[in-house]
């Protein structure tokens, strides 16, 4: 893990890029309230407000040792807000950051981002949202990705592409995160180019779900898929990022109704996820995983043996292929475990059994079970 204390001891100027001096600064935080009035949509965006914090994070994200030496990366940054982190990244030398593609659609923020394009030729600002798949197709169409070097899915092989994002603090943000992880085994989205690292700033609520180990109370589908697909680590000690109000904007709400764990104001975590070279979830199997995880996690405190039936009628017979005495010991699953206690190996075995079962449901899409509200 990157230790901020050690990092702070380093002379700041050392790694600075030549362009740093020309970059127009972000207006003072005091003025943010006026410049970026709280609209509902903006209230969900916890943004770094302290330049120092931004610098620490920029280095922690991009100068990650496990990615090998920092050879000219192309960074796609989503939801940058006014660009505190973008500026900090631009302070890094071209050898580390070759190109920065910024995705932002909020007009108020764009006003602060557009000048970066003029100040530094490495920058391209795309006024589109990181939430839309269209945006990424657009990058391709515009030829912005043509200098990305494809890297095969092997140990120690990485493309020169890096995804950086402030995750929005709403359901959409959580959905995006889940979809990004689900894209890994399918090698879709940016993962077409290889094992693209993702560096993401997220709230404690999301992080606790993503990192929850087997047996934890908050263990969930996201955690299982995350664990199965990528090596995810915190890159900065979360202590360094607290208290929230010293580092982030908007300030945490006070008074009534501020208790929701999903709203801004939570402790923050900075992580980097690097997809595994070898995937437990086989290509084309993500729908099956998704189905089983969703169905079973509804009953996460129930024993697997009892929960199985809610997969499909008769799914209880799967117990045989999971725990029968004629199954080799290392391929057995303890069906008395609660659903949330199952580890990745267990899940892989469950999925194998499920896929072999001739009566598995044909329609794995979990659409709304309710045809209509009229009754």
């Amino acid at each position: 893990m990157f230790s901020p204390t050690r990092c702070l001891r380093r002379p700041l100027s050392l790694g600075l890029s030549p362009s740093a001096a020309r970059i127009p600064p972000v207006p003072d935080v005091e003025e943010w309230r006026k410049l970026f009035p709280w609209a509902l949509r903006r209230r969900d965006r916890a943004l770094i407000s302290r330049p120092e914090t931004a610098r620490t994070l920029a280095r922690a994200f991009l100068q990650n040792k496990s990615l090998g030496s920092g050879h000219d990366r192309i960074v796609i940054e989503a939801f940058p807000g006014p660009g505190m982190l973008s500026r900090a990244m631009l302070e890094l030398p071209s050898s580390t950051l070759r190109k920065l593609i910024i995705l932002e659609e909020d007009e108020a923020f764009l006003k602060q981002l557009k000048p970066l394009e003029e100040a530094d030729p490495r920058v391209t600002v795309v006024p589109m949202s990181g939430h839309d798949w269209d945006t990424y197709a657009h990058l391709e169409e515009q030829g912005l990705m043509k200098d990305v070097v494809y890297a095969p899915w092997e140990e120690n092989a990485f493309p020169n592409l890096h995804f950086v994002a402030h995750l929005t603090h709403n359901v959409k943000g959580e959905q995006l995160l889940a979809q990004l992880f689900r894209s890994i085994p399918e090698r879709s989205w940016l993962f077409r180019y290889g094992r693209v690292p993702m560096s993401i700033l997220m709230s404690h609520h999301v992080w606790s779900r993503l990192s929850a180990p087997a047996g934890s109370k908050v263990r969930c589908k996201l955690g299982v898929i995350g664990e199965a697909t990528a090596d995810t680590k915190e890159v900065v000690d979360p202590e360094y990022l607290s208290p929230y109000d010293d580092h982030f904007y908007p300030p945490s709400p006070t008074g009534r109704g501020s208790s929701s764990s999903r709203k801004v104001g939570q402790p923050m975590h900075a992580i980097t996820s690097i997809p595994y070279a070898e995937q437990v979830i086989q290509s084309g199997m993500i729908d099956e995983w998704d189905y089983c995880l969703r169905r079973l996690f509804v009953l996460k405190s129930t024993k697997l043996a009892d929960a199985l039936n809610s997969l499909a009628p008769g799914a209880k017979t799967l117990i045989d292929s999971l725990a029968h005495s004629n199954v080799p010991r290392e391929q057995r699953v303890n069906v008395n475990k609660k659903v949330r206690e199952l580890n990745i190996a267990d899940w892989a075995l469950i999925l194998r059994a499920f896929n072999k079962w001739p009566f598995k449901p044909q329609d794995l899409m979990i659409t709304d079970a309710f045809a209509s509200e009229f009754d």
């Binding site: 990424y136 709304d368 045809a371």
Partner: protein
């Protein structure tokens, strides 16, 4: 024989004192032809009349006279049913307990009832009874029938069960009787009480075979009993005919004993009466008595009887007229009862033949079902498929298999349960811990019915719930458990109801004659009331009392049974292994649990195994139908009370309650007070309309159904829409994948919808098949706004086009000139050609005669012109009728049974326009006369289309997709529902559905496109209906105020008395918020009280053996949802008006002898009677609206809420402003008034909106960049800007205003001014209803 033929019925039953005058037509046969001349004059029609009218109003003495009565009726000050507002759940006082029995009491009484059944556990029942009797003295839940039931049980224990304890049981009986007689419990003895006590004396008196001497209670001899009987004005003959007597001998002995007593007391009148009773019991039943106008040659003489009724309809005396003859036939109790029921009810008893099938249908559902399943299984065995129930892929065979296993399972489980409960009870006794509430023991309830019945009920209910509540191939668990529990309860009650062979009162079959208009006059109305009460008393006395169960009991019973079923029910399923290709068979559960998320809530569901689900759309499903889902074969039982009417043995309610005890209590009180006579009478009219299945249409439907092809709204057996293609690049392109998933989802949904449609059509076809050739009836009840619906859910005229196409009136009438013309107009309307003038519509039909003939003769193998109609099946039926008529030499003589419709054009707006006298609005919706019908929908659609054209220029992408596609249909529903207060979200969903239906808009565009369109539509409607809007606002404001009001007597409590300090009282809410229990209640012009049920949702978690379910307890009211109360009031009020208009029309149609049916604002009758009905529709509408409805509503509010206060804190901000308060009038300081208007509404207030709306609002945030939200978020400075001086924080304002109250009635805003439009003008409007 009793000469009770139609001719002399009136003479036979003559009435004295407060007698019932000449039998009113709704319950009995008419006596003599009144005003016969008028009937002649009103039947003549001629072609010279204006298009809809029966005759020029000058010669129409009938309509005028009736209209006058009706006008008077509607102008009277209707009596209100006013009850106390329910109290918050943390307070209890005797008065509200009186109205709202709490659940523990209800449970205790239900257990008591169950323990008494079959004398399962009388000591326990006695214990419960004594406890409730002490704790809840005077509670209406303990009426005389409960006491009688106890008496009966004691007597039975003494007689047959515990001879050792005989003296004790008798002592209990006599002392309980003593308490009743002496008014200790304010429960009066009834005929049934005296019958039981008389029996007790007869069996154990000192001279009897088994003399018992008891010391602890006073025993009364027949003389003393008779004295009490006379004292209570109960007819002794009713005592001896009471259901308590089960043998002829005892009844005869009772007659003798009472006669002796009467002789002793010198009561000659009683002696004769009893003599008459005895002789009545000796009369043979005349087999021909139900054949009208046939008088048997040889008739035994029966005394003619005079009945004396008390004020409330109870019979106090029966007097023979003429000599009492002695018969030769041995005394027969049943015969006595039949005769008495005839005279007491002054009507004829249902003839056995007519009722036979209905009785069979209702009595033996479960037996018949089991026979059929067994038969099927036997058949299969015979043809060499030995009892392979499970393998045999057949629903019926499966059900039979499950049934056999389930019966054993239930028996075994029940035995376990009994032991378990005994152990628990013992443990509790020994631990000696006093518990506040009794744990509900389940076994007494489960023992009420046989295991066979329980098993069948469970299987049938679960099968029938397939696809219920919008769950594809499944149902919500909570609903399943409740339904099964309720079905067990209903079956038990039906068994009790059938036990005593009650003779049903039926409404008369004789058509009423014109001129018979009494019901709107006060005497006529009182007759109706007295008659109904008499019939009701009679029915209640002859039924055994049963208790209502609580939700908890229902759920527990349901869960016990469903759990057993899910455990034993399995099916064999086979498939091919996709890899090896070998056939694999597995035994799988037929049903399984799952949890689904619905708007973020985890919801338990029970799902069908796909193998079973698949069968549901193909196999015969009639087995799963209970008679309460089917039409009736006889006229429904007239509504005798709010919970007695409709089906003969299956309890139905006159109103569908929305889990609201308050609604039920109001209805009960209004019913008891005799304020609902016209509502009941109206429902009886609707229920007594005879129908038949249209055989010719049925044959076509069947052919299509069996072909399995998609055809005319009949979905195909195999879904025929191709699955969306997987785009080749979706592996790596997330965008392509998203679109694919979107389409795939839509396809899946369509497939599921197809399946569920197929299932629903299956029901309709099966039911139609079952009733081919029968005359059928649909019993009706009303929803809480008073709108009438047929009770059977599957096939009825309120259903879709297919259901309607399958139905014809049961009677035929010759067309006549006008009828032929209306038949043609009807055909044009059904085809969709309904915007033109009547003449043009007739011309349209003339232009298409060839196609019509072809459609009728070759529906499937011809040109299929009819399939392109808007309502194809009804169109086909009409083509067939018209073709048949035209092929006669004289088409006008054709006897037609097809209903022809007259629909209100945007009926909600019509009522608004009439209420507000809004001339502009009136013209839009055809209240004013015009040459052509005007069509609001087209008008709005054009406005929207125009606005889209404008957007097209600016390159809006939605405009590009939607331009040119805005048909009338797209906007119709939204325009229609605007008057009912549709929200943006609602409008968007409606439009989305329409866009999807069009099929020419990419599915992923529908949602956003709909949102774009909804804004346009709502904006376009905006100014078009100003008058309606003003009224809507007024209604809304009144409702908001009412929902904030608190009854005065609660005020003191809410501020002085600190509520019982609970340790964990976490909310610091001010007390007044907890006191907001007032719902909006009003009375329709017909006297029906309407109670809005919207309250905070409070669900109780109930752990059952299978899943945890959440159920609401209607017995414990929670605070009102003021937002919902306010927003729903305008539409509910309008609905209560259209319901009233319909009922008035129904009653008037019956009075004029024409057949009537309705689907809310669509009124149906025979083509030949359309002119007459059209006149009635207009008369009733005018009568309704000239009674100044809004003013009456205002008056009612002022009276109903006279003692209510509104806390000032509750009406701050915008709300206060919109009320336009005047401080002087309210007696508050100007400063306070300022404060009110300027203070911001606190957060808590805003978050009051219901979950649904909150969820909807969330959704909206995503699409709409909330301008409002931004404003509201702008922090403090804004407040400072507005007023500069007073800047108080919400808390300070609250402090200042706390404790300040104003009278609710002073706050009501003035009524909006009424416009100039005169409703009488609609008489001239042809297209008002058309």
């Amino acid at each position: 024989m009793i000469p009770l033929t139609r001719r002399n019925a009136a003479r036979a039953v003559s009435y004295s004192r407060q007698s019932l005058p000449r039998p009113a037509r709704l319950y009995s046969t008419p006596t003599k032809k009144l005003l016969a001349q008028e009937s002649v004059s009103s039947s003549g029609t001629s072609q010279e009349f204006p298009p809809y009218m029966a005759q020029p109003s000058a010669s129409g003495s009938r309509p005028l006279a009736v209209a006058e009565d009706m006008h008077d009726f509607l102008h009277r000050r209707s009596p209100y049913t006013i009850l106390p507002t329910p109290l918050p759940d943390d307070v209890a006082t005797p008065t509200t307990d009186y109205f709202f029995a709490d659940s523990p009491t209800q449970d205790a009484v239900a257990i008591m009832d169950a323990c008494l059944h079959g004398l399962q556990d009388v000591p326990r029942a006695k214990e419960m009874f004594e406890r409730v009797r002490v704790a809840r003295q005077g509670d209406p839940i303990l009426d005389s029938r409960v006491y009688n039931l106890m008496l009966e049980a004691y007597l039975e224990m003494a007689t047959n069960r515990e001879e050792i304890n005989r003296a004790n049981w008798l002592e209990d009986a006599w002392s309980l009787y003593y308490d009743m007689e002496h008014g200790t419990d304010s429960v009066d003895p009834t005929a049934n009480t005296y019958a039981i006590m008389l029996q007790a004396w007869l069996r154990f008196n000192p001279e009897s075979k088994n003399p018992v001497i008891i010391g602890g209670a006073q025993v009364l001899d027949p003389v003393a009993l008779l004295r009490n009987i006379i004292g209570r004005q109960i007819a002794p003959s009713l005592v001896v005919a009471d259901r308590a007597f089960t043998t002829d001998e005892e009844a005869n002995a009772a007659i003798k004993a009472l006669s002796r007593a009467a002789v002793e007391m010198g009561l000659s009148r009683v002696v004769t009466e009893l003599g008459m009773a005895e002789s009545l019991g000796r009369q043979a039943v005349d087999p021909l008595e139900d054949v009208p106008e046939v008088v048997p040659v040889v008739k035994a003489k029966t005394p003619e009887v005079e009945v004396i009724h008390q004020e409330d309809g109870t019979v106090s005396e029966l007097r023979p007229q003429g000599p009492v003859p002695d018969g030769e036939v041995p005394f027969n109790l049943e015969t006595l009862r039949r005769h008495l029921s005839q005279v007491v009810l002054a009507r004829r008893v249902l003839s056995e033949e007519v009722a036979l099938r209905q009785k069979l249908l209702e009595q033996s559902v479960y037996n018949v079902a089991v026979e059929r399943m067994k038969h099927q299984a036997d058949m299969l065995e015979k043809v060499g498929l030995p009892s392979k129930g499970l393998q045999s892929n057949n629903l019926r065979a499966w059900m039979w298999e499950w049934h056999q296993k389930l019966v054993n399972r239930i028996q075994a489980e029940l035995e376990n349960l009994v032991v378990e409960e005994r152990v628990i009870a013992k443990m509790r006794q020994s631990s000696n811990r006093h518990r506040k509430t009794e744990d509900v023991a389940l076994s007494p309830f489960l023992k009420l019915l046989s295991a066979e019945k329980l098993s069948l009920i469970t299987i049938m209910e679960i099968m029938h719930l397939h696809n219920a509540g919008g769950v594809n191939d499944g149902m919500k668990t909570a609903r399943a458990l409740l339904s099964v529990g309720r079905a067990v309860e209903a079956e038990y009650k039906a068994e009790m109801c059938k036990k005593n062979k009650i003779s049903m009162p039926v409404p008369t079959t004789a058509p009423a004659r014109p001129g018979d208009k009494s019901i709107f006059t006060s005497t006529g109305y009182r007759d109706l009331y007295a008659r109904r009460v008499a019939a009701r008393k009679y029915m209640e006395d002859s039924e055994e009392w049963t208790s209502e169960w609580t939700q908890l009991v229902r759920v527990k019973v349901g869960s016990f049974l469903v759990d057993c079923l899910m455990d034993v029910a399995t099916v064999q399923r086979s498939t091919q292994d996709p890899r090896t290709g070998e056939k694999i068979t597995e035994e799988q559960p037929a049903f399984f649990h799952q949890y689904e998320y619905l708007r973020g809530h985890k919801l338990g569901v029970i799902k069908f195994n796909p193998a079973v689900a698949e069968r549901m759309s193909r196999d015969s499903v009639v087995e799963t139908l209970h008679p309460r889902h089917l039409p009736m074969l006889v006229k429904p039982k007239p509504w005798l009370s709010y919970n007695n009417g409709g089906y003969l043995f299956n309890r139905s309610w006159a109103m569908r309650f929305k889990e609201s005890r308050e609604q039920e209590v109001y209805l009960r009180h209004a019913s008891d007070a005799g304020r609902l006579e016209l509502v009941f009478a109206g429902l009886d009219v609707l229920g007594s309309t005879p129908w038949q299945i249209n055989r010719r249409v049925f044959d076509v439907v069947l052919q299509v159904w069996n072909s399995g092809e998609r055809f005319n709204k009949i979905p195909p057996a195999v879904p025929d829409e191709p699955e969306p293609e997987r785009p080749p690049n979706m592996e790596f392109d997330n965008k392509a994948k998203t679109i694919y998933i979107e389409r795939q989802k839509a396809w899946q949904q369509a497939k599921a919808a197809n399946h569920s449609d197929r299932c629903s059509v299956n029901y309709k076809v099966e039911i139609a098949r079952a009733f081919l050739g029968d005359t059928i009836y649909f019993p009706h009840n009303v929803d809480f706004r008073g709108r009438a619906y047929p009770i059977p859910p599957h096939l009825s005229h309120i259903g879709d086009d297919l259901s309607r196409g399958l139905l014809l009136f049961g009677e035929k009438k010759p067309l006549g000139v006008r009828g032929l013309r209306w038949l043609k107009i009807h055909l044009a309307n059904l085809y969709g050609y309904d915007k033109a003038s009547f003449d043009e519509r007739v011309q349209f039909v003339h232009d298409h005669l060839e196609e019509i003939k072809d459609s009728a003769e070759h529906p499937l193998d011809g040109k299929r012109w009819w399939t392109k109609a808007d309502d194809p099946w009804q169109c086909l039926a009409t083509c067939m009728e018209l073709k048949d008529a035209l092929s006669l030499a004289d088409p006008e003589s054709y006897e037609c049974s097809l209903p022809v419709h007259q629909d209100g054009t945007c009926n909600g707006l019509q009522h608004y326009a009439a209420l507000g006298g809004d001339a502009v609005g009136a013209a839009q919706v055809n209240l004013a006369a015009a040459d052509r019908p005007s069509d609001v929908y087209t008008y709005v659609a054009n406005m929207v289309e125009k606005s889209i054209q404008d957007d097209l220029e600016s390159g809006n992408k939605y405009a590009q997709v939607l331009a040119g596609k805005i048909s009338r249909k797209v906007v119709k529903q939204t325009v229609m529902t605007t008057v009912y207060g549709v929200t943006f979200i609602g409008a968007r969903d409606q439009i989305e559905r329409q866009l999807k239906d069009r099929g020419d808009i990419p599915p992923e565009m529908c949602w956003l496109g709909a949102s774009y369109l909804a804004k346009k539509v709502l904006a376009s409607i905006g100014d078009l209906f100003q008058g309606a809007k003003d009224i809507q606002n007024w209604l809304n404001l009144c409702a908001r105020l009412i929902a904030k009001a608190i009854p005065e007597e609660r005020l003191v409590h809410s501020f002085t008395e600190t509520a019982p300090a609970r340790k964990n009282a976490k909310s610091k809410q001010p007390r007044w918020k907890k006191e907001q229990m007032t719902s909006v209640v009003w009375t329709t012009p017909l006297g029906l009280p309407i109670v809005q049920p919207y309250r905070a949702v409070k669900r109780k978690q109930v752990m059952t053996s299978m899943q945890t379910v959440f159920i609401s307890d209607p017995n414990s009211p929670s605070i009102v949802n003021s937002q919902k109360q306010a927003s729903a009031f305008p539409p509910n009020f309008i609905h209560s008006l259209d319901a009233t208009h319909m009922m008035l029309t129904a009653l008037e149609c019956r009075a004029q002898g024409i057949t009537f049916a309705s689907v809310h604002d669509s009124y149906w009758t025979h083509p030949s009677d359309i002119d007459q009905m059209s006149a009635i529709i207009r008369d009733t509408f005018i009568a309704l609206h000239s009674s100044n409805v809004l003013k009456s509503l205002f008056e009612e509010f002022k009276e109903r809420y006279a003692d209510y206060k509104v806390p000032l804190v509750a009406i701050r901000g915008q709300f206060a402003k919109s009320l336009g308060l005047s401080p002087e009038k309210l007696g508050m300081s100007t400063q306070d008034a300022q404060l009110l208007i300027n203070s911001e509404v606190e957060e808590g207030e805003q978050s009051e909106q219901s979950e649904e709306e909150a969820a909807a609002a969330d959704e909206e945030e995503d699409i709409e960049f909330g301008a409002e939200a931004e404003e509201e978020e702008k922090p403090k400075p804004k407040k400072r800007k507005t007023k500069g001086k007073v800047t108080l924080k919400a808390a300070d304002v609250e402090k200042r205003l706390a404790g300040k109250f104003v009278n609710l009635v002073d706050l009501f805003p003035e009524l909006p001014e009424k416009g100039k439009f005169d409703v009488n003008l609609i008489k001239e409007s042809q297209y008002f209803f058309s």
